[in-house]
């Protein structure tokens, strides 16, 4: 990633998040899928970037993808996405836990298999 061309922008990252670098929720990962909540209009106080972000997510997108589209660091987009999730404009879709913890039936099958050895 070091080879990336550096692009300056007049609006600095800390203004986008009011200086916060840590997202309000710690479950966001680059592969976390986010999706806009269609029924909920974006607050009128939201900036262009937030609106852009929500509209990007009308199709489900991974956090890393959103960051790439917006040309912003993933960690920064995580803060923004987290805020938008708090505001109810985005939802997180993830089966992350589902494959970290295999189902009980699978564990039983493995146990059965091991016993048969």
């Amino acid at each position: 990633m070091d080879s990336e061309e550096y692009r300056d922008h007049p609006v600095r990252s800390y203004v986008l998040t009011s200086g916060r670098a840590h997202p309000s929720r710690n479950t966001l990962r680059p592969e976390t899928l986010v999706r806009a909540v269609e029924s909920r209009p974006v607050l009128s106080t939201a900036g262009r970037l937030e609106r852009e972000l929500v509209q990007l997510c009308h199709g489900t997108l991974a956090l890393a993808e959103v960051a790439a589209y917006l040309q912003l660091p993933v960690s920064l987009v995580a803060v923004m996405v987290s805020d938008l999730v708090d505001a109810g404009n985005l939802t997180i879709r993830s089966n992350h836990q589902a494959h970290v913890l295999p189902g009980k039936d699978i564990l039983e099958k493995i146990l059965d298999g091991l016993r048969k050895l």
């Binding site: 199709g59 489900t60 992350h96």
Partner: protein, 558 residues
Amino acid sequence: MSSSPPPSRLRQVAPWVCVAGVLAYVLVAPVLFTATGASSTWPAWLVGIAAVGLAVAAALIAARSSRDDLASHEDLLLAYRRAEERADAASAALDALAKEQLPAFLDSEPAPPLPHLPGDARAQARLDEAAGMLARVQEERVARRDAVQVAVVALSRKVQAAAHRIQEEAARMVQRHPTDADILQTSMRVDHAAAQQARQAQSLAALCGEWPGQQWSEPLPLPDVVKGAASRITAFHRVEVSGDPGVAVSARIVEPLIHLVAELLSNATQSSPPTTQVLVALRQVQRGAVVEIDDCGVGLDLKQLEQARDIASGKREISITELGEIPQTGLAVVGTYARRHGFRVDVTESVYGGLRAIVMIPAELTEAVVPSGMLTPAATLPSANVPSTGVAALASSRAATAVVEAPLPRELPTAKPAEDDEWPAPAAPDAATVLPVEPLSVPGDVVEDEEETPVAGAHVKAPGELPLRPGRARPEDDEFPEPAALPQRRSRRGEADVPTDRAEPRPEPRTEDAGPAQTAEEAGEWMGAFFSSSEARFGDSPDSSEPPAGAGGTSEDR
């Protein structure tokens, strides 16, 4: 005796001699006539003639001397008047030297011409000499000041460049650790400090009459201008922006305007209590766009306000040499930009109690832009400027996929997952709403030239797909339809020269294997696998075996 004035004694005596001669004749004549008798009258005649001659001579002398007196009197009067005139002229010249030339010299302004001294060559020469020396000293002073300014500008440029370098390094640090919030925090702090440093350096350069160091190549929407300005002041979190008039400022004045607004914001935050907000209202007016900055401080008294207004509006110029011991650069910088770019700046009392600074940007320096409520992702999507990363490739291929699905919305809900499609489509309900906006994809061609590249690249990865138009027909389009005439963001990237397919006719409808390949959850797993393999940071890499398409049931909303 005629050429030289008669001796004063003779002149005084002559009338008396004349009178005495006549009297003597009158007295002597009868005596002579009676004494000598009629026979001898000649002595009487002789005496008479002598007396008359004496009287006439005396009268002549008197008359002549009085005429000479008059002439010399007139001469003296003339000389006196001339001397008086000369003295007046000399004192006027002295006054001009002391009261006009010297102050002008001290203020480094062009001096008024000295008055001419007629008929006094010596005084004139002295005066010219003095004026010449003044002019020479002034020239030297101007030259020295210019040299100092050049040096100050060069130094401030260096400081500014160093600050931008720090900012760049901070940004790269985040790029190297894209998911580390602590590093992002550090980067933000560094970036913020450097941004203020750059602003101060730029203020110096601006006061020396130099163009700001940074330049931007694209117009910037007004809210972003204010945010950009806020990012350069210490208390950026106190700035509250309201309103988006759908106006962008032209690229060439982006930096001056950001700097100008930053200085006003800096003044506003510094002169109001730290717990209050600085309110920035943006609006469009007939003659351009207006930025209003209100602070909640205590304001200024009338005299100070008048001064501030003169400086900020550019009426009164303040150069770097006049800043004084505790430099107040803010308003001076504002005034400099106002003069140079034609912004109209005014400072008045705010209804909130503090000051209200108003900046009017003339219409010729603004451009229309899509108001933020009507942003279309299609205009911005494929411009991701990260070609070297896998994410970018994924983004590109995703953009391609989204387009591919657009022409056949009716088939989508029943479409089977396709093996050759590595990226899921947007959820079916979205895709089904694409149809109404399809015509929009035709007029946008010109603007999106550069954006087609990544899409074309993506097609290389997915053989068997027909070349298609890029992602204008995004599912999102239906909610925020974009008029074709509205300006769109351009990608500045043009390096990839994969042949684009703009000339292609409308895409043929695809067969059903073009349907959504995977569910969103599979995509998430794919991403997880990608990140865990590329960075090994995310140790809990998911099992990459593909769950059945119905795995959406395991998703959960948090």
